[in-house]
Symmetry: none
Subunit: 214 residues, 2 copies
């Protein structure tokens, strides 16, 4: 029989981790949104299994409960405070050259300058990545959003950007266009400079992108 999380959380909120608290089974029931009978039964069970104890002054959580809850707290914290940075590896590919079209569009350019402080080189460096999940992690994060717009009857979608360092040398941004022509295995990077030239990259070269998830 596992622990009754709802009960433990209610007891914790009542302060039963540091002192005996006086809580009638009826009061407990209302906080748990169950009947008085059920809260009474749950409490008896929790006592039997060593999660809670009752004394003259009321209820309190046992050391066993506290250990368990503290562990849970750490698990939760670890999950939520997880990675602020990630490193993505892949190799340079040629791609469709469409970055050369959309990156220099005035509306995108204006927003790149305003939101990223970047006057981008007109084009993207395309990287085929090994770990596709990495792109999914980015897709989930907030990043900086460049708004979409219409241009000459064409709809240009929004772009999500993440600051990054290419080969640990040059600053740039990983961009995730909402209407990308690439799949999950290709990452697009923009920078002030022509990355291929500056880093002497050619198709097939291995590159490392250190991305800040902020």
């Amino acid at each position: 029989m596992g622990m009754n999380y709802s009960l433990l959380f209610v007891l914790l909120r009542a302060g039963a981790h540091e002192r005996y608290v006086r809580l009638s089974t009826a009061e407990l029931a209302s906080r748990l949104e169950v009947s008085q009978q059920t809260s009474s039964r749950w409490l008896i069970q929790a006592q039997k299994e060593g999660w809670a104890e009752r004394g003259l002054n009321g209820l309190r959580l046992t050391q066993k409960s506290l250990t368990e809850l503290r562990l849970l707290c750490e698990t939760l914290q670890a999950s939520f405070e997880s990675r602020k940075k990630t490193s993505i590896k892949g190799e340079v590919i040629s791609g469709l050259k469409d970055g050369r079209y959309y990156v220099p569009l005035p509306e995108y350019k204006r927003q790149f300058k305003e939101k990223l402080g970047l006057s981008p080189y007109p084009g993207t460096l395309n990287i085929r990545i090994q770990d596709m999940e990495a792109k999914l992690i980015l897709a989930d994060r907030k990043g900086v959003t460049i708004n979409g717009f219409s241009h000459q009857g064409r709809v240009l979608g929004e772009i999500k950007c993440f600051p990054c360092l290419i080969q640990k040398k040059i600053k740039g941004f990983v961009i995730l266009p909402s209407r990308s022509h690439y799949g999950l295995d290709v990452l697009e990077v923009i920078s002030k400079t022509n990355l291929r030239k500056a880093l002497r990259l050619k198709d097939g070269d291995k590159v490392e992108i250190s991305v800040s998830l902020e």
Copy 2:
């Protein structure tokens, strides 16, 4: 229908808060310690209620789940990081005078000096407290431990100490001897000075002890 905590915690531990994770219902079942059929049913339910979603790449937690879990995380953190100080009130009593025997023992004295920076007055101030729960709170905390030892065939137990301020004036330590002769209603305090003299205390006088729980 409330959320299924066990399921959410297992999914969180699997990393489903930041990406799709591939987990068969059988694998999930073994982690949840339920049958495959039950894990399948729970998952369907969680999906229906908007706690989890399934894509081609596996399972992941929804925003709704993350919001809920983050809130829970904060509750837990708040509970565990709670009070760093507490105030205990009571009145001076005479006690058994046994502090006069054990406080000055060289081994205890050495540790008091080393661990607390204290050369204690040979004796304890005994206080009958109104709120017995306060002592239980202390017993639960770590404090500073003075190790036990043997002396002339007698076993002297370990002592847990908490820095305190008596009457908001004089520094000292609340001590909790593991083999105390007192019950939960009596607190023993040591200090560099003779507290009775310095604060002009006599039996029955009200005192306030501000304890640092660290």
